[in-house]
Subunit: 254 residues, 2 copies
């Protein structure tokens, strides 16, 4: 069992270090992750310029590399042969914030997993629902233990094709977690606001600001599960076709 | 009817100029598009730095702005209030290449439409299936006429919520097009290959290369419709939950 670990917060983030250590219990681990933070980067493939890869000392017993590509580039590089040994599972994270609702279309953590799924490799994305304004680094130990359990299940049972699991872990102690729930994407309420100011030369600039997004804790959803103290496991598929609209659209005069 | 036009190839690409002109037949048009090419950029939101916006002379009778943000940033800026008049429809494109199969998870053209849908504004993405190695600019006139027809339908009938239409137009003359098909995401075959070389200083670099991706022309899919000479209209939804896997996953030992 050879597991590739990546993330979107950069290779020296404590979240990926915890995730790599947690995967070490299940097999051989290789890390290939961005050399900088790519949060809210979306699914990117760098085709117009070369990428650099550097060997990094990260954790004893794990080969680790950083790249100047995006999270999905790191996965593509590894699967295209930069890592010569066959990769059986790709895990991404641990992201310090939850990825719920439409976050998954922006999330670098999730798109890294999608990149693997496109190549037919099972993939998991892990995110921690840490409080908005935490002082210093999050404690990733509980999320790490959860990651081991879930990856172990995936290795044993296998994932449906073209499906990834986006896992969100509540920021609780291990004995406070009530269990696991299979959930659907919930509703994320974005509270972005446009900040317009003049720069030192009097030229306006625009900054997408506003409050941290919130969610609606509906039962059965990712956010609902988190707020009830459950680990949320949302299966996400590559096929985004809105089949339910076919009949409606076919009635139009084309 | 106020239509916002954007793209991912940059504001001076002939595809967006055609699209803006085609929308002018249906209402007032405003253009806000990236000042550079963002192809294969994914769904991005620029939060960590300010964005700049510049007024641009593009087409007589249309107010146009460029921004140093990504396509989805352009849509966010417009909907957050940079464009003060209410926007009723967002259209993105015309992309010079088809966006089929899993292309939609990478495509800046498509994510611009998703950004609008997240804010509850109907949105359409247009792509042209031009030959791989065309000499000079594509002819966007047929795709422009198709865009007018489809946007007109959307204005009349309305789109289902949280759904966008990803439209792919075959590279044919108008009288060669056989009609419109509502399609599902098909299979895209990526033929990426890793090119490894040494730079002038002897340090290796990695370039994601390989052949242009191909598709499998299965009936009922985006690529299948294109290859039969139809305009492909694929409804895509924001909800990526893989509902069909719920029962299977619930059987696991959590």
């Amino acid at each position: 069992m050879h597991i590739l670990v990546t993330n979107d917060d950069g290779i020296f983030n404590p979240g990926i270090i915890q995730l790599a250590k947690s995967m070490l219990k299940l097999g051989k681990v290789t890390v290939l992750a961005p050399d900088k933070n790519w949060s809210v980067s979306g699914h990117k493939k760098t085709l117009h310029k070369p990428l650099r890869v550097k060997k990094v000392e990260l954790i004893e017993g794990i080969e680790a590399f950083s790249s100047d590509g995006a999270p999905s580039d790191c996965v593509a590089l590894a699967l295209l042969g930069l890592i010569t040994e066959k990769i059986d599972l790709v895990v991404s994270g641990i992201n310090p914030h939850a990825n719920i609702g439409n976050d998954v279309t922006y999330s670098g953590t999730v798109t890294a997993a999608f990149e693997a799924a496109i190549s037919g490799v099972p993939a998991l994305a892990f995110s921690l629902d840490s409080p908005d304004n935490i002082d210093g680094d999050c404690d990733y130990s509980v999320a790490g233990a959860v990651a081991t359990t879930i990856a172990d299940n995936v290795i044993k049972f296998g994932l449906p094709v073209k499906t990834i699991l986006s896992v969100n872990v509540p920021y609780l102690k291990i004995d406070e977690i009530r269990g696991f729930q299979i959930t659907r994407q919930g509703l994320r309420l974005y509270r972005d606001a446009l900040v317009v100011r003049d720069d030192p030369r009097g030229i306006p600039y625009y900054w997408i600001g506003g409050e941290f997004p919130h969610g609606i804790p509906e039962a059965g959803t990712d956010y609902g599960a988190l707020k009830e103290g459950y680990v949320s496991i949302t299966p996400l598929q590559l096929d985004m076709t809105a089949y339910s609209t076919f009949e409606y659209l076919s009635q139009w005069k084309w």
